[in-house]
């Protein structure tokens, strides 16, 4: 063991700590008792000590457990130089209305320094319902951009050089292969080779059963589409992240949900191995998404712990040989759950703290929940502030100038190890249920998360968890109103009209034939992506394509536990 302290020195420190407890701590506590009986980390309720010393890290092996950045086990970061070479990708996730409205907004944000496109889709799009479906009424273009057919995708990316940007097509989930196929078809139209496309598609079907519930298909159908996309992308779009595994789906607690997310990631890896892929073929294109909360030290330690554990799992359990396979690359935005309607400007401060935690935790891309998130989707101004927050941190604070600056802190190293052990326990619990799919089908995962959500929210209402301006230092004064984004209902009409027109003008005999081919391929083993690609080029819509897949695999029946 390569510990940093020799045995004699540790014994000396131990004697010193005991002496301090007796002669310094005790009298101090008598004079000034602590604020609480027991201190827990704020987000995941992990017990923490008053002060950490070399004794707390004596079992940590620097070379084996921490090491250098860019090298296994990647605790200190996935690249050797991290932000000294390239700052994180600064995203400002946006979307509303038909493609052209979002297109104009994206172009303005690029001018303001946004370095990665991140597209939010509306609710019907995320659950594969076309805009002209009566069930979509009232939701079209309201919480994101509406994408039914390739025509919408063309409007969304008009004039944007697809080979020079990276694009996150977030929250398309069970419809990921359709949105991905549309992006490929669009690149083809722009004359850009697929190999040059960089970006991320969510393609994380299982989180849709316990996270935001953007589920459409049965787990069997959803896993089939997942595997088809990853195997196709490995051959044709080598720079594309084929999945974005969501570690805080459904909120819960960051550590609990990270454990669930890692167990889910292992289920994906198992499925791909079973489909005949080598771990070094798929793992380098696995990416992750995790909200970052406000307990800065807990979050930094959690992100370091996940990096180490993921590297270990991929190497030890799956036998990966390439370092690229072992890298936990993640997008770490702040979350809407940490924004409040009362005194909304305070949300800017909350977002700033989370962003610093995300940077210190080594995020590869960041965004913030806008301060007006409790009311509506962001205004252009509030979204710009999300970008500005990142820019001020990046260029004015110096936090990115040293790699993993909190590494070596007795507290952070001890907590990193503590969280790694906790993650292993959670993964074991999911495995004991029969894996991620079985745990979802039994409602086990949903119950774990619902319990954590209830615990957190109850703490807010009792005041045990302070939230400034909400349950602490509450003012009775009337608040100054803020500007709230209102999407013009006209956008819904425009979108519905366009989709109806697209459906009327295309070759509908061909459409029916293509949908039939999708059903046949889904019943067989043929990879669905090439047929979906052909269908999107013929202007078959997302709702129709996923509808055909659903005909074969059936729908998911929600397990309503709380």
């Amino acid at each position: 063991m390569t510990t940093e302290f020799d045995k004699e020195k540790l014994e000396e420190i131990e004697r010193h700590v005991k002496e301090w407890e007796e002669n310094v701590l005790k009298p101090s506590l008598q004079k000034m008792p602590e604020r609480k009986e027991e201190f827990l980390t704020r987000e995941s309720w992990l017990p923490i000590k008053r002060v950490y010393t070399p004794l707390d890290v004596k079992d940590i092996d620097y070379l084996g457990d921490i090491g250098m950045p860019g090298k296994y086990p990647f605790t200190r970061g996935v690249q050797a130089t991290m932000y000294r070479s390239k700052l994180w990708t600064m995203r400002a996730q946006t979307g509303f209305g038909p493609g052209e409205d979002t297109n104009a907004l994206i172009k303005r944000l690029i001018k303001q320094g946004m370095t990665g496109l991140s597209i939010d889709m509306d609710v019907p799009t995320t659950i594969c319902v076309d805009s002209d479906d009566p069930r979509a009424a009232g939701e079209v273009g309201r919480l994101g951009v509406s994408i039914d057919s390739l025509v919408d995708m063309e409007a969304l990316f008009d004039g944007i050089p697809l080979d020079q940007v990276t694009t996150s097509l977030s929250n398309a989930n069970h419809g990921s292969s359709v949105i991905y196929a549309m992006y490929l078809a669009l690149a083809e139209k722009h004359g850009i080779p697929w190999e040059k496309l960089g970006g991320t598609i969510q393609n994380e079907p299982l989180c849709a059963y316990y996270g935001h519930r953007y589920n459409v298909l049965s787990p069997r159908g959803a896993m089939r589409l997942f595997t088809d996309l990853v195997t196709f992308a490995a051959k044709h779009t080598p720079r594309w992240n084929t999945t974005s595994i969501w570690l805080e789906a459904g909120c819960g607690s960051p550590v609990l949900n990270s454990g669930i997310g890692l167990a889910t990631a292992m289920t994906y890896a198992d499925a791909l191995v079973e489909a005949g892929m080598d771990v070094d073929e798929f793992a380098p294109r696995f990416s992750f998404l995790t909200g970052v909360r406000l307990d800065l030290f807990e979050e930094v330690s959690r992100l370091r712990a996940i990096r180490r554990l993921w590297a270990r799992i991929i190497k030890e359990k799956y036998g990966a040989k390439r370092p690229e396979s072992m890298r936990f690359r993640f997008y770490g935005p702040s979350l809407g759950i940490d924004t409040y309607a009362k005194e909304p400007l305070n949300n800017i401060i909350r977002g700033t703290i989370a962003t610093i935690a995300s940077v210190l935790g080594g995020a590869n891309a960041i965004d913030l929940a806008a301060y007006d998130e409790p009311f509506a989707i962001p205004t252009e101004h509030s979204k710009l502030l999300c970008l500005r927050t990142q820019q001020v941190i990046a260029y004015e604070s110096g936090v990115g100038d040293v790699v993993d600056p909190l590494g070596g802190s007795y507290y952070v190293e001890a907590l990193t190890s503590q969280i790694e052990e906790e993650l292993k326990r959670i993964i074991k619990r999911i495995e004991d249920q029969g894996g991620a799919v079985a745990a979802i089908e039994k409602g086990y995962t949903q119950k774990l998360i619902a319990d954590a959500n209830y615990r957190r929210e109850k703490e807010k209402y009792t005041g045990e968890r302070p939230v400034i301006g909400v349950n602490m230092f509450v003012t009775e004064e009337e608040e100054r109103p803020i500007e709230i984004m209102k999407v013009d209902p006209e956008v819904e009409r425009r979108q519905i009209e366009r989709t109806k027109r697209v459906k009327a003008e295309r070759d509908n005999v061909k459409t029916q034939a293509l949908l039939q081919r999708i059903r046949e391929a889904a019943s067989d083993k043929e990879n669905l992506v090439p047929i979906i690609l052909e269908a999107v080029k013929a202007h078959v819509t997302q709702g129709e394509i996923i509808g055909a897949v659903k005909d074969v695999f059936g729908e998911w029946q929600e397990v309503t536990v709380f």
């Binding site: 009232g138 939701e139 459904g250 309607a341 009311f375 509506a376 929210e457 109850k458 709230i484 929600e558």
Partner: protein
Amino acid sequence: MTLPGQRIRVLLAKTGLETHDIGVKVVASALRDAGMEVIYLGTRQAPERVVEAAIEEDVDVLGISFHSPVYEETCSTVLQLLKVRNANLLFVIGGCILVEDISELKAMGVAEIFPAETPLDNIVNFIRDNIKTATA
């Protein structure tokens, strides 16, 4: 209809396509812990289905949770259906509801609106104080 001394019965659901359900589940747990009998129908329920279930289950309270700005249309449909079915229950809503819309929603006939950050006790107490108890 609940007789005095009986447990209050509540049915909760989310309508529409949008599925943010953390809040509604927290409320479900809080009402359960307050001694009420809670049925949670789940997400993406049609208003017709919700009203049908509320009547079938003979609940005292029907609650719908919203995260997107479609609540006015939905509430109007639900209230209309409740009227047609002659249902005598307390209809409440919660979630991302703009303060400026509250008076209009109340005028429509929604018994109470619990926007995000409403203390859980307020919801429990409102229900206890306002359910339409059968006169013995």
